[in-house]
């Protein structure tokens, strides 16, 4: 072979169109290439009066060692002879083989069609499940033939690009991985790119059950459209078929997962058995329940029994308007503000009324306890401090706008925001203003005092860090309002914004560390425990995100916007939704423990003690549930 035959100088270019090999095969076009090999469409000139097309596969033998090269050529010829003895309609016929210099050639039947990878790429939606099942059953049949050939042939490289659907829509196996013979041993750090190969193949072992696995992987790819070559190997359980493509019947899902079992002995014992199962899911196939008991471990779909309505409230207390705030539990008392302007004090055990305090505007925040007082902001523009024992006012403090923020306590002061665009610092015992800091918009989030600083969000989209004198330390700008109240862990500050993002910023400098995107506004205030940050979004989901890596650990879909604040308590997440339900999820997995339906959207937060959780709903009621 001389370089003049090549499109480029250098030994690794493809043949030029028009080149004739062995005075017989004229190259018409390049069909494909793969590193050290090329496939050409060629015309067999032995039949000058008709156009007989063949496929010619060219393989480069790169070894510089003559002895190694000779061994590789011998193996190639042995393999070519073996392939020539195969006789199955799904296997292209081998016509010829020859070696020229450092290149070996294999001539075979030209298959006019498309490979399954191309078919999958060109389709914009999932392929019809019955069609994939039909292909699978046909492939089982041809691979079964190979396995029972004497000597047995292990295909070793089943994947969508090695399978073609010809012009008659019949399945053809097109590449017997013969090029592998020429790959030199690779040493040192290297990349595993297999994706379709079973674990034992990484140990250099391949048997019939390896082909079962690779076919399972191929079917998984075809049904899920998720390319296993770009996913971690053996991560099938992370991509449940039916979770991705709901059209896949459960039995087919189980069959694919069984083929993909890590241990070869857990897979189908042979291709025939696998094929029989797949045939049930072809067009017109009979739906037969397959051995679900033998399904691979880890795919059982056990639903916890009766998660709904299993919870009966300990008590319910009715107010005269919506409850949008968060109650608190203290000293034998539950305190909750309502939109009917009242702050209610109830007995935790029974929900019995103790006293109420009337403000002149709705109460939407979470009250805070200061010594024997309760402090709460109101839409009447005031902050009220009320005696816990008598329910009578101790002091009031006037701002210049409705107060929708909740009070936070530190260093003997109450810190609270107002729609007057200020953060107010108020002496907790006497209600005297210590200072106020003017910002760029209403402050509705709850300030977070931590160390010698106070952090709070603003409707201007800014988050501020001020010191205990109210002097600005840093300011961070989100694109839309920050109503969500910040929380802190491990030196990072977390908050949501109406710009759909949850932010983590460095608490010392305010520099953004990461942001996590949801599909709608985040008004809900995040909660954090065990390295998981939990928050709701108006996209209807409750999210659990790894606080350090920003990776989503789980999300739970509700039927309405989630604007209320989640509570994390004893490994459980409690969160309300506009769909009227209160959800109880497992913190680590996001799995539903139970849900409880109220008469209206739940937009406030939740409080808990050892006995119960307490929350309000816009159905005007305050609920106490055992948990």
């Amino acid at each position: 072979m001389t370089n003049s035959l090549r499109q480029h100088t250098g030994g690794t270019a493809s043949l030029v169109v028009g080149t004739t090999l062995e005075n017989r095969y004229m190259v018409i076009r390049v069909i494909g290439s793969g590193g050290m090999s090329w496939v050409y469409q060629a015309r067999d000139m032995r039949f000058p009066s008709v156009t007989r097309l063949v496929a010619v596969k060219e393989m480069l033998n790169p070894s510089k060692d003559a002895a190694i090269r000779a061994t590789a050529v011998q193996s190639f010829e042995r393999e070519a002879n073996l392939l020539a003895t195969l006789n199955h309609p799904a296997i292209p016929r081998i016509y010829d083989y020859f070696t020229i210099g450092e290149r070996s050639f294999l001539c075979m039947e030209f298959v006019n069609g498309k490979d399954l990878e191309a078919i999958l790429t060109e389709s914009s939606d999932f392929l019809p499940v019955t069609k994939v099942a039909h292909w699978g059953a046909d492939l089982c049949s041809v691979i079964h033939y190979l396995h029972n050939h004497q000597p047995p042939v292990i295909f070793r490289d089943i994947k969508p690009s090695n399978i073609m659907s010809d012009e008659h829509e019949n399945i053809r196996l097109v590449d017997f991985g013969i090029a592998k013979l020429f790959e030199p041993d690779r040493k040192g750090t290297m990349i595993g790119t297999e994706g379709y190969s079973p674990p034992e193949q990484y140990r250099g072992e391949a048997g019939p059950l390896s082909d079962v696995y690779a076919l399972g992987a191929t079917l998984h790819h075809l049904l899920s459209r998720r390319d296993p070559r770009i996913e971690p190997p053996f991560s099938w359980h992370d991509r449940p078929l039916r979770g991705i493509n709901p059209a896949v019947p459960e039995g087919l899902d189980q069959a694919v997962m069984k083929a993909l079992a890590y241990e070869p002995t857990q897979r189908f014992p042979d291709m025939k058995t696998f094929g029989a199962v797949l045939a049930q899911f072809e067009e017109g196939g009979r739906p037969v329940v397959i051995q679900s008991a033998e399904a691979s471990p880890g795919i059982s779909a056990v639903v916890p029994s009766g998660p709904e309505n299993a919870i009966k409230p300990k008590w319910v207390f009715a107010c005269e308007d919506e409850i949008r705030g968060t109650p608190v539990i203290t000293k034998g008392m539950i305190l909750a503000g309502a939109y009917d302007n009242n702050l209610y004090a109830l007995k935790p055990s029974s929900g019995e009324f103790i006293w109420k305090y009337a403000a002149e505007g709705g109460l939407t925040g979470r009250p805070a306890i200061v010594e024997d007082m309760i402090v709460v902001g109101s839409e009447d523009k005031r902050v009220h401090a009320v005696s816990l024992t008598t329910g009578k006012v101790v002091w009031t403090y006037f701002t210049e706008g409705p107060v929708r923020s909740s009070p936070a306590l530190a260093e003997g002061h109450v810190f609270i925001g107002s729609d007057d665009s200020k953060l107010h610092a108020i002496n907790a015992l006497y209600g005297r203003g210590a200072w106020k800091t003017e910002v760029d918009g209403p402050v509705r989030s709850t300030p977070l005092p931590s160390g010698d600083r106070i952090y709070f969000g603003c409707e201007s989209g800014d988050v501020y860090a001020v010191d205990l004198r109210g002097d600005l330390k840093w300011k961070f700008h989100a694109k839309r309002p920050v109503t969500s109240s910040p929380c802190e862990a491990n030196g990072l500050l977390y908050f949501g914004s109406v710009d759909n993002l949850l932010y983590a910023t460095d608490i010392k400098s305010g520099w953004a560390v990461w942001r996590f995107r949801t599909n709608h506004a985040i008004i809900s205030s995040p909660a954090i425990a065990q390295g998981i940050i939990v928050f709701g979004s108006a996209d209807g989901r409750i999210y659990g995100v790894d606080a350090n890596s920003s990776k989503e650990k789980w999300h739970f879909e509700t039927e309405g916007q989630v604007t209320g604040n989640p509570l994390i308590f004893q490994g459980l997440v409690f969160c309300g939704s506009v769909d009227k339900n209160l959800y109880c999820l497992e913190l680590l997995t996001g799995k539903l423990r139970w849900k409880f339906e109220t008469g209206g959207p739940i937009t406030g937060g939740i409080t808990a003690n050892e006995d119960m959780i307490v929350f309000g709903s816009t159905d005007h009621k305050l609920y106490a549930l055992p948990w």
Binding site: F234, H477, D506, W511, A512, V513
Partner: protein, 280 residues
Amino acid sequence: MAPITRIRSRRSTKSAPPAELPNDIPMFRSGIAYDVGRVRQSNEDCLIAITSLQQGDAVSPYYGLFVVADGMGGHDLGEKASLLAAQTFAREVVAKFGTQFLGGVAENSESIQEVLESAMSLANQAVMLNLPGSGTTLTAALIFSKQVFLTHIGDSRAYFVGKEIRQITHDHSLVQRLVDQGHISTEEAGRFAQRNVLLKAVGQVEGIETDFLTVPWEHGSRLLLCSDGLWGVLSDSEILRISKNYPSPQDAAVALARQANTMGGPDNISVVIVEMTGEK
């Protein structure tokens, strides 16, 4: 590095007794070791250590960027890939982060995660375009404001070494995947034949996903970055023991590499040890 010199000279002035100067200026002390090992002909690793200090009314008095990369590929491709990736990565981070550190305004509001990820993506593209057929691991730590921001691809590792040793990164390797799935034990992993098979590397495919994580600086600990030429040869407890024996990070780094060579030095060895002093 002018600030370092100034601080040192101030401390060594004999007319001002050291006791009167508060020794609480945050400062990095870092040490590196870089060796071809006993078996390989060339060193396909690369490491970069950048420390920056400032005093004054600044947001942060320091930041540091530390990178270890372990290249792979025939001929001299591996060493070229690791250097190209590490330099491309560091250049991008310094351009964005270093500017902000010195009071410059960031051009857009990228988060630290986005800065590190775009730097990794540039490194990936650079290797793909310029050195096809090669690849490299890349593990980088950006230290700033008591936080360590880590990003990595491949099996070069980051550890905290203090009273105990704790691995922070999670290898993108076949053997790690098998351990995670419970198919083999950590013990078996040490003997696993395909220990060097990576699931991803810089310069292999477009749009590579990188791991990002942030961990608060462990007070009293050292941060160790190393290639598999170190961790593949020395056990965690050996690394811990040797690190404890040397008060100077530089001495510790060299001692670790020396011990890896004593154990046969089968692969290139890169070690970066970072210590923070004066940080309250």
